[in-house]
C-alpha cells in the first residue's frame, strides 16, 4: 500500500479514501474520508477545496496511528 511505504520513508502522507476501514486495517496513519469511490476529491471545486484543505490540516497535525478525519 503506497501510503504506508511513503510514510516509512518519513514523508507525512494523507490518504484521501472512500474506504478508510481498508486503510486503517493496513495501517495507514493519516486518512481523510473521501465522499465516494468514483470521486475521492469531490465533484465540484468548492468540495474539492474543502477536502484538500482538510488534507493539508492533517499533514500539519500530530496524529495517533490510523486516524481518520471527516470533511466538514
Amino acid at each position: 500500500m503506497l501510503a504506508k511505504e511513503i510514510e516509512r520513508a518519513g514523508i507525512p502522507t494523507v490518504f484521501v479514501t472512500a474506504l478508510p476501514t481498508v486503510a486503517t486495517m493496513i495501517g495507514v496513519n493519516r486518512n481523510v474520508h473521501a465522499p465516494a469511490i468514483t470521486h475521492p476529491f469531490g465533484l465540484d471545486g468548492s468540495e474539492r477545496r474543502r477536502i484538500v484543505e482538510r488534507g493539508m490540516e492533517m499533514l500539519q497535525a500530530d496524529v495517533t496511528p490510523t486516524t481518520v478525519w471527516e470533511v466538514a
Binding site: M1, L2, A3, K4, E5, I6, E7, R8, A9, G10, I11, P12, T13, V14, F15, V16, T17, A18, L19, A23, M25, I26, G27, N29, R30, A34, I37, T38, H39, P40, F41, G42, L43, G45, R48, R49, I51, V52, G55, M56, L59, Q60, A61, D62, V63, T64, P65, T67
Partner: protein
C-alpha cells in the same frame, strides 16, 4: 550426508557471556555447545561449521553483520541453516530471525527456534520458526523438532502444515478443503461465539509504521500528488493495466494548471470511471492545489505526479511500488504527499 551450518550467539557458542556480546561474526569448526545435541537429532546431515556473532554487535551493525555472516554461511555451501534456539532472548531471537530470513531468500533452506512471543518470531520471512519454551529449560524439547525439520529441509522433503510439523505459521495462506462447507462452519463459529468462545479462520495482520512528524508549515513545503486511481494521460500511452498493475508511472506537471478531460482519463478497472473522466481533478486535485500554490498556502507543487491502479494489486507489489515512489520523492526533497485511492 549433506552439510548444515549452525548459527549461535556468543554465549551459546562458548565465547563468553555479556562481556562477549560485541563479538564480531566468526566461524568455528563443526558443532559447538547445543549444536552437539542438535547433531544427535539430525538425520543425514552433518554440522560442518558453527557461525557465531555477539548479540550487541549484530544489533549495532545489523546490515554489515548480516553480510559477513551470510558470506561465512555460503562458503560452506550448506543444505540447511539452523539458528538458535534463542528461547526468550530478544536480541538473539531477532538476530536468528534475520539470518535465517536472509539465507532463505538466497535459496538456503533455514529454520530457527524461539519463544512465540520473541520479537524475532515474526521476522523470519520464509524460514521456519519452531516454537519453544521461554528459557533454556526448553532445550531438550526443542532440539528433536529442530533436528527433524532441519533434516527435512536438507533432504528437500515437502513439508506438511504448521500444525502437523510443529512450526509457527509464517503468514502464507494455503487452500485446502475443510470437512464442512463454509456455511456450516459459519453457523458453528457463530454459535460458539454466542456461547462466549470467539474463534476465527482468518486474522488481519499488517505491520505498523509510526506516523511521520507533521509538516511544520506547508507554506514553505514541497508537496507531491500521488494516485492509485489510475489517472493517466488520455489514451493511456504507457498502457497502465486496469487491474493488477505491474508498475507505476510518473507524468510531468510543469506548466499544467488543471487536469482536463481531453488530456487525462482514468483506467482503473474497479469502479465506474465516468465521473472521473468528466473531470480528472476529481482524482488528482491539481486545479485546487495550483490555486493554493498561487495563494502561498503551499510553497511548491512537485513537478510530476505518480500514478498506478490499486485494483487487485497484491500487497507485495503495492509495497514495492510504494518504496520505489518513496525513494524518488525523498530524493526530490518532497516533504508532504496527498494520495488518492478508492
Amino acid at each position: 550426508m549433506v552439510k548444515a551450518v549452525h548459527y549461535l550467539n556468543q554465549f551459546f557458542a562458548g565465547l563468553g557471556a555479556e562481556e562477549a556480546a560485541e563479538t564480531e561474526p566468526t566461524r568455528l569448526d563443526g558443532a559447538v555447545g547445543p549444536g552437539r545435541g542438535l547433531q544427535a537429532q539430525l538425520d543425514g546431515v552433518e554440522i560442518a561449521a558453527t557461525v557465531a556473532c555477539g548479540d550487541d554487535y549484530f544489533a549495532e551493525h545489523e546490515d554489515e553483520a548480516l553480510d559477513r555472516l551470510l558470506a561465512l554461511i555460503e562458503a560452506e555451501q550448506p543444505a540447511v541453516l539452523v539458528a538458535g534456539p534463542a528461547f526468550g532472548s530478544g536480541r538473539y531471537g531477532y538476530a536468528c530471525a534475520r539470518v535465517v530470513a536472509a539465507a532463505a531468500e538466497r535459496g538456503i533452506p533455514a529454520v530457527t527456534a524461539m519463544h512465540p512471543e520473541n520479537p524475532g518470531a515474526g521476522a523470519a520471512g520464509r524460514a521456519l520458526v519452531v516454537p519453544t519454551q521461554v528459557n533454556v529449560a526448553g532445550m531438550r524439547e526443542a532440539l528433536p523438532v529442530l533436528g527433524r525439520l532441519a533434516s527435512a529441509l536438507a533432504a528437500g522433503r515437502e513439508l506438511g502444515s504448521p500444525d502437523e510439523e510443529g512450526y509457527l505459521p509464517r503468514g502464507f495462506r494455503r487452500n485446502r478443503f475443510a470437512e464442512q462447507p463454509g456455511a456450516v462452519r459459519a453457523i458453528d463459529l457463530l454459535l460458539a461465539k454466542l456461547g462466549g468462545e470467539v474463534r476465527s479462520e482468518v486474522a488481519a495482520g499488517f505491520d505498523r509504521v509510526p506516523p511521520p512528524a507533521p509538516v511544520q508549515d506547508l507554506g514553505t513545503a514541497l508537496l507531491a500528488l500521488v494516485t492509485e486511481a489510475g489517472c493517466v494521460p488520455q489514451g493511456n500511452p504507457d498502457r497502465l493495466p486496469t487491474i493488477r498493475a505491474r508498475g507505476w508511472l510518473r507524468y510531468p506537471l510543469e506548466g499544467v494548471e488543471s487536469l482536463s478531460p481531453e488530456a487525462y482519463e482514468s483506467v482503473h478497472g474497479g469502479f465506474d470511471v465516468t465521473l472521473a473522466n468528466e473531470d480528472p481533478n476529481r482524482l488528482v486535485p491539481l486545479d485546487t492545489v495550483r490555486a493554493l500554490e498561487r495563494e502561498g498556502r503551499i510553497a511548491r507543487l512537485h513537478d510530476a505526479f505518480y500514478t498506478t491502479t490499486g485494483n487487485g494489486t497484491p500487497v507485495e507489489s503495492a509495497t514495492r511500488f510504494g518504496r520505489e515512489i518513496a525513494a524518488e520523492l525523498r530524493d526530490a526533497g518532497v516533504q508532504a504527499v496527498l494520495l488518492s485511492g478508492t
